[in-house]
């Protein structure tokens, strides 16, 4: 069992359960064993729900024996990024400030997965409050890239991506504010889907930047991402920004064949001309374009001139919202409180609790966000950034009049080495290809498309689609996956140490 659990997909596991070839308990046990063996070196998990996962698996097996399974996915374990609330579990967000806090409620996505019988296996490591692109900003421990342990897994959903790549999870949930699902998916050679803003409820996702955050799956296959999207999406009365007209039943595309005849695929030239794009990555993604053409798609160059402003706008809007969202972590009602020496000094309690328990990157963004919202600066920064955002959205709307789906690199390069990127701005630029989808609110998916020749690190191709066009996007992504040279490739976790 241990041998093929590493490559077992979520959908395939469901089949094995249905056919009685494996039990839910065996599945959970096999994954836990892999976590036991490999995770000390990888660091993908912040906590593992061993007891509850096993007992829930037994309950699922009992239901299945009686033919009372809650859904085809009943008994399937899934790993959840540590910024998504699960009742009775820790919810650290990779931060010291939430150490010791237990969530009293389930996020809507978790509730939906539980309603389908899915089991939360453990909580994956992340950059503190999802701020980062390498998971080096976790306050607890770094995560190693399963393909090369000296490299980062990307971030902020680095734990989710690494756990799936290393076969420590069948699939995982992550969150994507500026690329935090797609970028680590690309670095770890897995599939990562960021749905349209509003398609998946954010209720229970600890907010980083409310107008950009979206929960999505990290999986071994495009089909798994489609299945999980169907499980977690849909309107939620608890999230006023969730929408009624989100795409539904996207996994249905796999029933209708994956023809790309007549599909128009656009390649934005600004992405491919970006000076920081490595030649190897450019080549792999161009190969992907050729593969799509061979399957009948029309590939053409398009232009997104306002993409140039995406990073600047993002690093105003996201910190602004974050500075407000993170204000609640004050040590008063939950989380760590540093008691001021001078008893009863409220300001000192705030200062110490937040000063000691937020990491450097989080503090940097809170300061940045507080600054850009300050009276006298609001118009110059926040308002202008919102205007740039509108322009960018219009860019996409225009481009999507002439093509169905866009193809871009997910990242400018393969995974970088740990401690290699020390300049914040340099780190921020690693999200250059993913950020614009968050600003525009459109869906995106990263699919493995090859490996760098020099270091053998995974490369991701990103597909972008209009709002709520997940189905079309997944059709193209799945069709490409069949042709991808990286499909079905998994790291040998026991031997990687490069």
């Amino acid at each position: 069992m241990d041998k093929n659990i590493a490559t077992l997909s979520f959908a395939h596991a469901a089949e094995l359960l249905r056919e009685g070839q494996i039990s839910s308990r065996e599945l959970v046990q096999a994954l836990l064993s892999r976590v036991d063996v490999h995770d000390e070196a990888l660091g993908a998990y912040l906590s593992v729900a061993r007891e509850s996962a096993l007992s829930e698996a037994e309950e699922a097996d009992a239901r299945r024996q009686k033919g009372e399974q809650l859904s085809p996915w009943d008994g399937l374990p899934i790993s959840v990024k540590d910024n998504i609330a699960v009742a009775g579990q820790a919810n650290t967000c990779g931060s010291k400030i939430l150490e010791g806090y237990t969530s009293p409620y389930d996020a809507t996505v978790v509730r939906r997965l539980k309603d389908a019988g899915c089991i939360v296996l453990g909580r994956t490591n992340m950059d503190e409050f999802a701020m980062g692109s390498s998971t080096e900003h976790s306050a607890y421990k770094p995560v190693a890239n399963p393909w090369a342990r000296s490299c980062v897994p990307g971030g902020s959903s680095g734990g989710s991506a690494a756990s799936v790549a290393a076969g420590e999870a069948l699939a995982a949930l992550g969150s994507d504010t500026g690329g935090s699902i797609r970028q680590p998916a690309a670095f770890c050679g897995v599939v990562g889907l960021k749905p349209t803003y509003g398609a998946v409820s954010r209720y229970g996702l600890v907010a980083f930047a409310s107008s950009l955050d979206q929960i999505g799956p990290l999986t071994k296959t495009v089909r798994d991402s489609a299945v999980l999207y169907d499980l977690i999406s849909g309107p939620d009365p608890n999230d006023a920004t969730s929408v009624p007209d989100a795409a539904t039943g996207v996994s249905g595309v796999f029933d209708s064949g994956l023809s790309l005849e007549g599909k128009k695929i656009g390649m934005p030239k600004e992405f491919f001309d970006y000076e920081g794009l490595s030649a190897e990555v450019r080549e792999k993604v161009q190969n992907a374009a050729e593969a799509l053409e061979q399957r009948g798609a029309n590939v053409k160059e398009v232009s997104l001139p306002y993409n140039e402003f995406a990073i600047a706008a993002y690093y105003i809007i996201a910190p602004a919202e974050a500075s407000s969202n993170l204000a609640r972590f004050d040590g008063i009602r939950y989380g760590r409180r540093e008691v001021a020496e001078a008893a009863g000094r409220l300001l000192e309690t705030y200062r110490l609790s937040r000063g000691k328990n937020f990491g450097e990157e989080v503090k940097r963004r809170i300061i940045l966000g507080t600054y850009v919202l300050s009276s006298g600066y609001y118009d110059a920064y926040y308002l202008r950034a919102q205007k740039a955002r509108t322009k960018l959205r219009e860019d996409f709307a225009r481009v999507f009049e002439e093509c169905d789906v866009l193809l871009t690199p997910t990242t400018p390069s393969g995974a970088f080495r740990m401690k290699q990127v020390t300049e914040p701005l340099q780190m921020y630029r690693s999200d250059i290809f993913t950020i614009s989808a968050n600003l525009a609110g459109i869906p995106g998916i990263s699919v493995p498309c090859g490996f760098t020749e020099t270091e053998g690190l995974p490369v991701g191709a990103q597909f972008l689609a209009p709002h709520f066009a997940e189905k079309e996007m997944l059709r193209v992504a799945a069709a490409y996956e069949q042709a991808s040279p990286a499909a079905g490739c998994y790291p040998d976790v026991t031997e990687t140490d490069g």
Binding site: P104, A207, E321, R328
Partner: protein, 480 residues
């Protein structure tokens, strides 16, 4: 030099809704601390607000009662500041696009001081909706927090600086409270913190077109306190100006026991709330249909009811002011008066007897043991001379105690007025025979003696003889 005051009021009103503004916790006062709470109103990690439509509807209704323009497009904003009573350390409020703007409240009638207030319109600059914060309770050297109040829908009603006297400020508040009661928007109980009021006041020379330096007064726990504090503060500022001293821009605290304002803090620290649009909530689109529906369900305003009462029931403006003070009372009066041939008398009975009795018993109109039809019946018994006004008072007491219909009481106790000529005649004869000296007094010109004799007849008849008839007959008899 003659001075005048410039007064503006900022009123916070809790909206009466079943649940809080952004979660499903009950909106109730007086429960055990921290029992009406959930992850949302405690600001737990990951929660999101979901707007209570009733709070929006009622705020729009409040705006309509105050003749405001209602926004077609509005939004919520975050007001950022740290304080332990704020679960998220930001308050979801409204900044530049409030639900209601540019309204007015009409004031008139007899003011709190007893003086007449000329009819005026006080501008309402804006009404916006926000979430209330938790309640800090200070115990010795530390503080505890009750989050039951956190997330209760709260309206902020900002007036224009249009008021010039404590009477006008008092009348504005009274009118506002009445309107909110009438439309069932807020209970406005200041003791329960459902209505809170901050006052801004400055004084200027009458011929000065500019404004004086304004002072904010806090800790005002009743309308009376507002009136007293303003009277005190206006005098204080006048005295300063007369001494050519400067009024400082400051916040002062009203001390109700000592009847003075004392300095709380000078000049507001420059707060930067870093407002920005609330990204967790969609902007509010208020359709013409929605506005129309809210307008359809609005009650008649107290002002228009006052006017109508004067016209339809021929009562005085003062009576109308008293009778419309509370919607329940106005409804009670109107139901009693509408089918009565003597609405003015109905008004008198309600204002003197009925309100007097309720006051003595500490009861509200809604708790009255009898309905408006009982008052109407009582008045009609007097009108058709079945009973005298004097007997009516006894019947009233009996009816309030027992809840019985006045007609039944009169019947049971045989209280019908005696109008039978022969019966009255026999009473007269008896009294005349028993009081020869008084009769002589009258005959020798002592007019007062007649009054005594009438009294004796009434006594003999147990108050049931028609006093006018007795009077007339006795005069006839003695002049023969």
């Amino acid at each position: 030099m003659e001075y005048e005051a410039v007064i503006g009021l900022e009123v916070h009103l809790q909206v009466r809704t079943a649940s809080k503004i952004f979660c499903s916790c009950a909106n109730r006062f007086g429960e055990e601390p921290n029992t009406l709470v959930c992850p949302v109103c405690l600001g737990y990690p990951g929660v999101l607000p979901a707007v209570n439509k009733q709070a929006i509807t009622k705020t729009i209704a409040a705006g309509m009662m105050c003749n405001c323009e209602i926004a077609g497009y509005s939004k919520f904003d975050r007001k950022n500041y740290f304080y332990p009573d704020m679960p998220k350390n930001y308050q979801i409020s409204q900044y530049d696009l409030p639900l209601c703007q540019n309204g007015s409240v009409r004031i008139e009638g007899v003011g709190f001081s007893g003086d007449e207030i000329p009819r005026r319109h006080i501008g309402v600059r804006r009404i916006h909706l926000e979430e209330d914060v938790a309640k800090s309770i200070h115990v010795g050297s530390y503080s505890v927090i009750d989050f039951n109040r956190a997330g209760v829908p709260l309206m902020e009603i900002v007036s224009e600086p249009d008021m010039t006297s404590p009477d006008e400020a008092h009348a504005y508040l009274t009118e506002l409270k009445q309107m909110m009661h009438y439309a069932d928007i807020s209970d406005c109980d200041m003791e329960k913190g459902q209505m809170r009021c901050d006052v801004n006041v400055s004084v200027r020379a009458v011929d000065n077109p500019g404004f004086g330096t304004k002072v904010e007064i806090k800790n005002l726990n009743s309308f009376r306190a507002v009136h007293r504090a303003l009277s005190y503060e206006i005098e204080r500022q006048k005295e300063l100006l007369e001494e050519s001293a400067a009024v400082e821009q400051e916040t002062r605290r009203w001390n109700d026991e000592e009847g003075v304002t004392t300095l709380m803090r000078t000049k507001e620290e420059a707060h930067d709330y870093r407002y920005f649009p609330e990204p967790d909530l969609m902007p509010l689109q208020i359709s013409a249909d929605m506005r129309e529906e809210i307008r359809r369900n609005l009650p008649e305003s107290p002002a228009s009811r006052r006017e109508r009462f004067v016209q339809e029931y021929a009562i005085t403006a003062y009576d109308a002011q008293v009778l419309t003070g509370e919607k329940a009372l106005a409804d009670f009066f109107e139901e009693a008066a509408a089918a009565s041939s003597a609405p003015k008398r109905v008004a008198n009975v309600i204002m003197t007897e009925f309100l007097g009795w309720l006051g003595d018993q500490g009861k509200t109109v809604r708790e009255s043991p009898v309905g408006p039809e009982a008052i109407r019946e009582l008045v009609s018994l007097v009108e058709n001379e079945t009973i005298s006004m004097k007997i009516a008072k006894d019947v009233f007491s009996e009816m309030m105690e027992t809840g019985k219909a006045p007609g039944d009481i009169v019947e049971e106790k045989g209280l019908q007025q005696v109008t039978d000529q022969s019966v009255i005649e026999s009473y007269l004869q008896q009294v005349v025979q028993e009081n020869p000296s008084v009769v002589d007094d009258y005959k020798s010109g002592k007019e007062k003696a007649l009054k005594y004799l009438v009294g004796q007849v009434m006594k003999l008849s147990q108050g049931k003889a028609n006093p006018q008839q007795v009077n007339d007959r006795l005069r006839d008899m003695l002049s023969q």
